[in-house]
Subunit: 373 residues, 4 copies
């Protein structure tokens, strides 16, 4: 198992969707960091179910109880454990499925891995519900980053064929990220919302689900964050993003489109803007050689359609070793893209904080530019 | 710095492009593993420069000297250090560039990170040359996997607009992967080779470069390999792939296309094929919930166009704090996609071996299917 | 912070003595491992306070609530989080001490490390109370080891000048370890108990405390467990044992006495006992080159006298930057050696399990002796 | 295998005593750190064989070739690989021993662990020769520490029954440590040298060997270095020290003697010395709760007698599965204590640097004393 992440901002995640509780231990929060439980709750609410018609009707408060590491509103410097009780579980929805493997889910892979001892109720540890602790860890991370001038935001880039406009890769305004911060259906072009919602509603009516893309950005990230082999910004972000079960693609900057470009189109020309080095374009998404270059960090993540659909599906029943037909009952999101936005933001925040802490020991002397020597 | 990878098949990479040498320490090769230096050399040759008109004229033998951990053709069980001397360096090609930051490269990001103490010659540690040790580590990994019936292969999916056909995601023949294994320009449809080469030649003539995509697959991978949070197959592969400086996107299965699908299209229906559970489709690329499901593992990696181009580019000179124009001399690949194929294969091999070793301690009892109880 | 331990049996510890709760996440328990909560409770009871006149009067049930990773009495294979609520706290005992640094404690070191944001109540995260989660993790570890024929036990080797006899290093009987398993005052020679208790009582009456030694052993450990550089049995055990705040020395086999021996006295001659290789003596405590050799594993740990004493002590008051005199109130153990025994056993169990899991990937083929080839 | 150490100053060690070479990769040296190869060579010379009558006659230059990570005398910030060729090997000395297990050595344990594929020549990876790369890594670490005012030194505390005086635990003069720095037979009381040498000579003549103790100290270590659970100063040091095959005990401060003390004797009373908090005694060896408290750090390490002795010993021959008698030929140290001193110093330097780098991210704000608020 690999429930641990990080060398500086260290995470240890645990929990099953329908067990007593889920949570995370965060080791490495600098002593004295303000911990604002109200702000954490606002981030948690963006991911929590039952808030939007695109989402499952399972209502969970997703309130985090902090067991350790915080005193009088500040981090002690010792590990912080946050737990979330599972309150609104209906395990009976799942009992019939014990040996019927849901297509697109981890049921079969997990059954084999854990020799049938895995908790199958609601996907157990494989549930998207396990992203809640990541949002908790991300909330603390982004408050630390905020104090250093780094803003993180995301929006729904697409749901099915309906597409929002993209972030301006060069002149990205931090205020526009702030505006997205506590929105449950974040978009740059509010005009596409109704079409997106209609697409989701249509899928729900036809007992189906839909996928989409999230574009996530960070501004104010200084150059020099990240590490070649094997701690590039892209490596660390992707390893976290691909931990979210529904993620099937991770791109930076122009991403897959880079395959079609010439070097003269893909390179970002550098220029002085006053005494600051900046770039005229940002095809590389703010990361070159795995390290930030001072431009906005830009990533796109593809979320597959929710595998839980009510429509009849062919699958296997392991107890009889024969094929069967499955119609999934229970409460499921026809589209998890809106709820996933804050998860992806959290992951980018965790990535940047982890690598900024790594960077604190990278040099024996402060950076001095050759022109100043 | 994060020069270390892995919890079982542990890598520690080192070296600069124009320093005395590059190499890797591999800790965790099971004692008794046959080490076939001739086979390793064949894999190394596929990545080595100077072999193909698409590549740089810098000829390096890339011969690995094994300093430790191998006796009489077998791994001792102790760490294996392989080193490659840098022989054909022309650092004078780079001296003029000391403070002129090459666009698209890590020059500026690396200068800031290391406060100007980085080795700038040939990109130093950021050079694509550092993928040679990964091929060495991958060669040993894939020989171990081969003995367990796992085959890995890749092909050039696209160079610019010229596209090869894709792997059959369901009925992928191991023999077709074997056929690709020691090819310097691997393709499924040999008919597209001339168009691809023409596209590269055209870029070279116009002092430019081109990007592309590599599709990589593994067959024979048992279900149950990988770990949710944070050791999914996709997480580990992506963290390694994004360590390669030119990679800007990583996809599994249908990848970015998943955003456009409905759940009923994206789910892979399961069925019994004799006593074996298999899937009728493979949109998830052999991985669900981060864990292999027994289907072929399928990934696509986007390689950006080589940033070193001879064409004049705008950039900054840090010594004068002013803009300048740069024309890069030296020997560079107009397209690194063909040489990158074996690197991506190596990364998939390392990923699968790492996670298979992880899996050896996952269960207290052998897997028994409910139908057999 | 380094709240994480292990590469296979991974621990993540958290909590403060007077915060809401303490606990641990254990990642790596093989799926299907039986989890016997009653047996765990019996181990926990040995460490819990308030059970013996040598210990503090603070009575804590130390009941572990398992939040995740266990279903129907078996490990799921996913992380297990166990939490223990702090119920019987009297923080007012500590409030006066906020800036008065208790000698022998981590108060001053911790204040500096965490810039005064550490939780000072009851020593916070530095409290010996944090060993309770280690006993929980150790209980599960030793049940796994038991199923493989490995027994672990310990006894009080000394309290002050009163000394128990030592384990027979060569012919150590597993049954004698079992006999010690659930004893609150474990001794080999019951005749020394009254003298030991008298020594503790005398210390308590004189407002003082006493230290001692624990000898801990494991039988049935196969040869080959452990790893040279940096995962020797001694390295892993010592890194855990020195995490217990009161431990000041760790020895294996003859330990410090080795300094006085000749090689001819310290070497353990090997001999065949039937078809089994064994040793005639065991000066090396079952470990040579960091790896078990099949003999009983023997270690000694020195526990310093409890630093909390009621006697007046000179110390500093950070709020006035001046010296002061401190008389510690509250409930404290005059001797923690009896309660520490199960902690040291737990640490040896964790060490052996961690390294046995490491060993599962060490060879490509089963061990075959040359005489059988 | 566990050839890796560290989270900040990361080591990856490799090599066999009679293979092509040994070495280490160090990842995490801050960019810009001066690398003084002459100073490194002086430290290496203290450990190198053939320099003193107490040591083996095998003469190895132990010259480190730096393959990467250093340019123009400064660390680049990327991994540094240092290799040492094995030049003066006489493997024929060992060939007869292939299946004859040397008592006190790792031969049998290593044979089982690696299923007979281990390199047995000269102990292979288990050789004390592998401490040479640790001295290389330690040399760089202590030069970084020196620049921060931290001095490290050690002396031979005892060889057999002959004992040097101990360091003054409270008023330890940094200059006295400096005086010991490049001494091949370091002692505080030069008067005991002849007795120590006589004891070693006597052992050699009787075809035997002797053990001893090294006391090692650091001055100038600020309070606050180290981490509770599981990164205490003692934990990290011990895990490294117990990687050295001959080490059988590690103590801090009063060490095993702590078992005999009362709390009133063992606690170190704190007092203001001007505006600095200091202690009147140093029974805890500068470490409380795993964290430095500003007092000198003091540790003692027990080195067992060299197991290679020329005297006839009973042991097993695995090829015949029978007992045999062994007389070890070859060149061996009758006492490795003098050569081990620089190894223990290196280990303390690595420990302190690793934990100081860890400490750089421990606080969100600078430390401010309450009296100054």
């Amino acid at each position: 198992m690999r429930g641990n992440f990080g060398e500086h901002y260290k995470l240890s995640i645990f929990g099953e969707s329908h067990g007593p509780g889920i949570g995370i231990v965060i080791d490495g929060i600098p002593a004295g960091t303000p911990i604002d439980e109200a702000e954490i709750a606002r981030y948690m609410a963006r991911r929590a179910p039952g808030r939007d018609p695109t989402a499952t009707a399972r209502a969970e408060a997703d309130q985090v109880e902090i067991l350790s590491g915080v005193l009088n509103g500040h981090a002690c410097g010792t590990p912080v454990c946050g737990i979330i009780r599972n309150t609104n579980t209906r395990s009976s929805d799942y009992s019939a499925l014990r040996f019927t493997m849901r297509p697109g889910h981890a049921d079969y892979a997990g059954f084999i891995k854990y020799a049938g001892f895995n908790d199958p109720r609601g996907g157990g540890h494989f549930s998207g519900r396990l992203t809640a602790p990541l949002v908790f860890a991300g909330s603390i991370a982004r408050s630390i980053l905020k104090a250093r001038g780094i803003r993180i935001g995301s929006h729904i880039l697409s749901i099915g064929p309906v597409r929002d406009e993209a972030f301006d890769p060069v002149h990205l305004d931090p205020a526009s990220l702030t505006a997205l911060e506590f929105t449950s259906f974040p978009l740059l072009d509010a005009g596409v919302e109704s079409d997106m919602r209609a697409h989701v509603a249509q899928a729900r009516e036809s007992l189906d689900s839909v996928g989409g893309m999230i574009e996530c950005a960070a501004t104010g990230v200084p150059a020099g964050i990240g590490s070649p082999f094997f701690g590039s910004v892209e490596s660390v972000f992707a390893s976290l993003a691909f931990s979210v079960p529904a993620v099937k693609a991770v791109e930076f900057g122009d991403g897959t489109h880079m395959a079609d470009l010439h070097g003269s189109e893909a390179n970002d020309a550098l220029t002085y803007s006053g005494s600051t080095v900046t770039a005229l374009t940002n095809h590389n998404g703010g990361v070159t050689g795995g390290i930030t270059n001072g431009m906005p960090v830009l990533t796109r993540v593809t979320i597959k359609p929710t595998p839980s659909i009510a429509r009849a599906q062919t699958t296997v029943d392991l107890s009889t070793a024969s094929d069967t037909t499955l119609e999934i009952k229970g409460r499921h999101d026809p589209c998890i893209v809106p709820r996933a936005a804050v998860v992806i933001e959290s992951i980018l925040a965790i990535t940047l904080l982890e690598l900024m802490m790594d960077d604190m020991t990278a040099r024996s002397e402060p950076i001095q530019m050759p022109s100043e020597r």
